[in-house]
């Protein structure tokens, strides 16, 4: 899957984009967030407080219960502030 990070999420994890294989046991965004937090460092900072995060699956807003698959484009970002 492709992971994209925006705004302070990108700054904390240190990359804008990365690819990874769906980790064993990860079936939802919530699982993925827990998995990423366990990487520690900037990942722990970015994903340790999920209520501050928003996500999109394949360029559509998604709740953390959304199911994910290995071919998905998944993005994590703060609440949007455009306009």
């Amino acid at each position: 899957m492709t992971l994209l990070y925006f705004a302070w999420v990108r700054q904390k994890v240190g990359v804008a984009e990365e690819t990874m294989n769906l980790p064993p046991g990860v079936t939802t965004l919530k699982d993925l967030i827990a998995h990423l937090e366990q990487r520690g460092g900037g990942y722990a900072e970015a994903f340790g407080n999920p209520q501050r995060l928003r996500a999109a699956v394949n360029q559509e807003h998604a709740g953390f219960d959304a199911a994910i698959a290995d071919k998905d484009e998944i993005a994590f970002f703060p609440p949007v502030t455009g306009g």
């Binding site: 925006f6 999109a56 949007v80 502030t81």
Partner: protein, 148 residues
């Protein structure tokens, strides 16, 4: 109705955009528009906008289509700038054409409320050497909620 949606670094000319919108159809009687600008209060020196390319355009298209289902629109233009802007710079234009004013006003407000709460843009404010991401406002969520 084919909307004009652009994400760009460059500034825009409101008169040109409104003319393009109004001249598309002879029964346009009303064009409501909104321009958002960088406020220079609190010692702001610059504002930097980033976005999620692809998703941004898709979100805006979806909301223009939704507006077109709710109101009899004759045209819509959404331009949102990204990159680094200074106080007083234009950030966003939303313009909606219709036969009558109430549809144009309502659809324009609807699109602005959804831009604020759904379109994947993020603002970072710079004040001298200090840099901070703008926090989302609860009042924007409430404004978008009234269209449900």
């Amino acid at each position: 109705m084919t909307p004009h949606i652009r994400i760009q670094n460059e500034d825009f000319d409101v008169n040109d955009e409104l003319e393009a919108l109004a001249s598309a159809q002879i029964d346009v009687g009303a064009v409501a528009s909104f321009v958002g600008l960088v406020r220079g209060d609190g010692g702001l020196t610059s504002l930097t906008l980033e976005h999620y390319p692809g998703m941004t355009e898709r979100e805006i298209e979806n909301h223009v289509e939704e507006a077109n289902r709710r109101w009899p629109l004759l045209g819509a233009t959404v331009i949102h700038r990204v990159g680094t802007l200074k106080p007083g710079d234009r950030i966003v234009l939303v313009a909606v054409a219709s036969a009558h004013r109430s549809a144009a006003f309502e659809a324009c407000e609807f699109l602005m409320d959804y831009l604020k709460t759904r379109a994947p843009f993020w603002k970072r404010e710079d004040r001298g050497g200090e840099s901070a991401w703008v926090e989302a406002r609860a009042s924007d969520e409430e404004a978008a909620g009234r269209w449900k």
